[in-house]
């Protein structure tokens, strides 16, 4: 039996013959579309689009200006970090996780380290000072993450000033990060067992200064945006998602709190001693983008409070567990090119103690072993519940690390928020979700 294929249409050009090739049923599809009298169009936004918050691809079916169906295409930044970690030791893992959601590096590190510490069974042995500094750095990180959210969100709706303000204030915090960790981003500062190193001299004063300065600038955001009628017109009632929708879709963080449910892991399932800090969970009852914006502003204020409490709480002491089988022997120090071994320590082990040198070498190249089992640790990142599931097979490397990234889960609610709205509102809704593609795709 022979099948008859219709010959593809051809035409001669100066460059040779050009064929018009059609796939299976395209002819029918085109005919059907031509007959339909409505103006349904499918629009692809991204993955390279200035206002989709990174390499996010939005597939919108629009009817005039109304979005009738919205879908996300993700995976354009899939980095295979989880797989890569299976070939590195447990400490090196922090270097990888910090690059997942690159706006919240310290949350990724802390969540990962909490899970590893749970596996090791040393949760109670983490020195107080290390925990307080973790909280301090996380809260500063929360501010910087929210600032980028406001800045990029502002830019996407055309408010360039908001962007300039956001990035200006973020620099204040990055300066602190740089002073403490040696890097502006991607710190690998929190390590299983504690911290890479203590706060450097002068850090406390600088943080106090920055907190004061930033607090005095907070009202600028209110002036610029909170009451601004244009800003409100773009945000109010856009991206609506109620409590039932949030829970069904697993949305956490500001999206969930904007429905009026004060769900915050720092209160409900405290880690790192959050139960000892005095702060309020910001909520709103509008369940829209504007509510989320207000929550982020309020959370920055609360974070400032926590930072100050941390500074008051700092007591001298070690920042790494005492167990020398886990703690890196080196005293790391910030040098001109980032963090490294302090020269004093190298001099000591090279010159005086062969055993210390061997121990150092083994621990750094081979790493420590983690008992068999699995653990889950979660922290409240600026975007929601950041959960880490780690599995160990008793070796010096993770057997499996999985990040439950809040951006990934929250982004699912995009369709529910956008369908039935205007195309321009899609941008606002996505900015209100604040997905970071590094976290979504990992």
């Amino acid at each position: 039996m022979t099948t008859h294929y219709e010959e593809a249409g051809t035409r001669e050009t100066t460059e040779g013959r050009v064929f018009t090739v059609t796939g299976g049923d395209w002819g029918e599809v085109v005919e059907a579309v031509a007959k339909a009298d409505d103006e349904r169009i499918i629009v692809n936004m991204g993955p390279q689009h200035p206002s989709t918050h990174g390499v996010l691809r939005l597939i919108l079916e629009i009817d005039g200006e109304t979005v009738t169906e919205a879908r996300c295409g993700i995976g354009y930044l899939h980095t295979g970090i989880e797989k890569n970690m299976e070939f590195r030791n447990w400490v090196q893992g922090t270097t990888f996780v910090t690059r997942m959601d690159y706006l919240t590096p310290l949350f990724n590190e802390t969540a990962y380290c909490l899970a590893v510490e749970k596996l090791l069974g040393i949760t109670d042995q983490i020195p107080d000072r290390a925990t307080v500094i973790r909280v301090l750095m996380m809260e500063l990180n929360r501010i910087s993450s929210h600032l980028v959210c406001l800045a990029t969100g502002g830019m996407e709706i055309g408010s360039t000033t908001l962007m300039i303000y956001g990035f200006r204030d973020r620099e204040l915090i990055l300066d602190i990060f740089e002073l403490v960790t040696g890097l502006r981003m991607n710190h690998a500062y929190v390590r299983p067992g504690g911290l890479a190193q203590d706060l450097p001299p002068g850090a406390v004063d600088q943080i106090r200064e920055a907190v004061k300065l930033f607090r005095s600038r907070m009202h600028e955001y209110d002036k610029l945006a909170t009451g601004n009628p244009v800003f409100k017109a773009r945000l109010v009632d856009v991206g609506f998602l109620d409590l039932a929708g949030c829970l069904a879709l697993g949305a956490t963080g500001p999206i969930l709190r904007a429905t009026g449910l004060p769900n915050d892991l720092r209160k409900s399932d405290p880690y790192c001693g959050y139960e000892n800090y005095d702060f309020e969970v910001a909520i709103a009852d509008t369940a829209d983008s504007y509510g989320r914006f207000l929550i982020r502003l309020e959370e920055m204020r609360q974070s400032l409070r926590i930072v100050e409490q941390c500074l008051d709480r700092l007591r001298p002491g070690p920042v790494m567990v005492a167990d020398k089988k886990i703690a890196w022997p080196a005293q790391l120090a910030v040098g001109p090119d980032g963090m490294g071994n302090s020269l004093d320590h190298i001099r000591k082990i090279m010159g005086t103690s062969m055993e210390a040198l061997i121990h150092h070498f083994k621990l750094v190249t081979e790493g420590f072993r983690v008992p068999v089992g699995q653990a889950y640790a979660a922290v409240e990142s600026p975007k929601g519940e950041l959960g880490v599931h780690v599995v160990s097979d008793g070796g010096t490397r993770p057997y499996r690390v999985h990040f439950r990234d809040p951006s990934f889960t929250n982004l699912q609610s995009m369709a529910a928020m956008c369908e039935g709205g205007q195309v321009a509102d899609v941008i606002v809704a996505v900015a209100g979700i604040d997905p970071v593609m590094g976290g979504v795709d990992r």
């Binding site: 995976g75 590195r88 829970l247 697993g250 068999v372 089992g373 959960g387 599995v391 070796g395 990934f408």
Partner: protein, 233 residues
């Protein structure tokens, strides 16, 4: 020593061996120069716990078992084992009953695990018949509790029922687990790849899928990809 101190019968605790560790350093090939290269130690996952579990674990387990019984399901049938490890409660559920168990966990007023925190696949290459594990974390906002539900499937038949009808949030999570591990979630509305390109071959985070790095060339030297190097685990 009195007789009372000797346990009457030795009960066999079923353990799950997921592999073997060889030598002192876990090095492969000629890596182990310690002379202990022949040592073999099994890798054993934490075994089932016995009652009482302690804390609220008993309460949750009782409620779940009671609720399943009410629905005419033998708890011992649905729940393979209950493991308490490192302060975390894990129910190992047989895959046939996953849907019913998760619905009960969500809807029973005394349980109320409203929030599912996604599914994480784990591939135990040398655990015959139970290679693929799907690990769900469920959080109860009402009672501020967290539990883990674990389901297994063999590589030869990688099917696990989808819980999207109970927890819609698992839509993307299950697609991710399918993409990376090849676990087929039956009943998922649109189980397609999510991270990798549509025409990708294989499921990259399985243990039998190579890392896929390339050797890096320096002047006069080559550094193999991380999974090809001589290393100790």
């Amino acid at each position: 020593m009195s007789d009372g101190n000797i346990p009457a019968t030795r009960t066999e605790i079923p353990v799950e061996v997921v592999g073997n560790r060889q030598g002192m350093f876990g090095g492969r090939g000629t890596g182990d120069t310690s002379g202990f290269g022949g040592l073999v130690a099994p890798i054993v996952l934490p075994g089932p716990s016995s009652r009482p579990y302690g804390g609220w674990f008993d309460e949750v387990a009782d409620e779940l078992e009671g609720a399943l019984e009410e629905q005419g399901l033998d708890p011992a049938d649905a729940i393979e084992k209950t493991v308490i490890d490192r302060g975390e409660l894990t129910f190992h559920v047989r895959r046939e009953h996953l849907l019913q168990v998760s619905r009960t966990l969500r809807d029973d007023p005394a349980l109320r695990f409203e929030l599912c925190l996604g599914v994480s696949g784990v591939h135990y290459l040398s655990d015959p018949g139970r290679e693929l594990h799907a690990v769900y974390h469920l959080r109860s906002i009402t009672h501020t509790r967290l539990i883990r539900v674990e389901v297994t499937a063999p590589d030869a038949d990688p099917h696990i029922p989808s819980v999207v009808s109970v927890y819609p949030t698992n839509d993307w999570h299950e697609r991710e687990a399918y993409d990376f591990f090849g676990i087929v979630f039956d009943g998922h509305p649109a189980l397609t790849r999510i991270m990798m390109p549509d025409d990708w071959l294989g499921h990259p985070q399985r243990k039998d899928y190579p890392l896929g790095g390339i050797p890096v060339e320096y002047k006069g030297a080559q550094i193999p990809a991380p999974d090809q190097r001589r290393s100790y685990t």
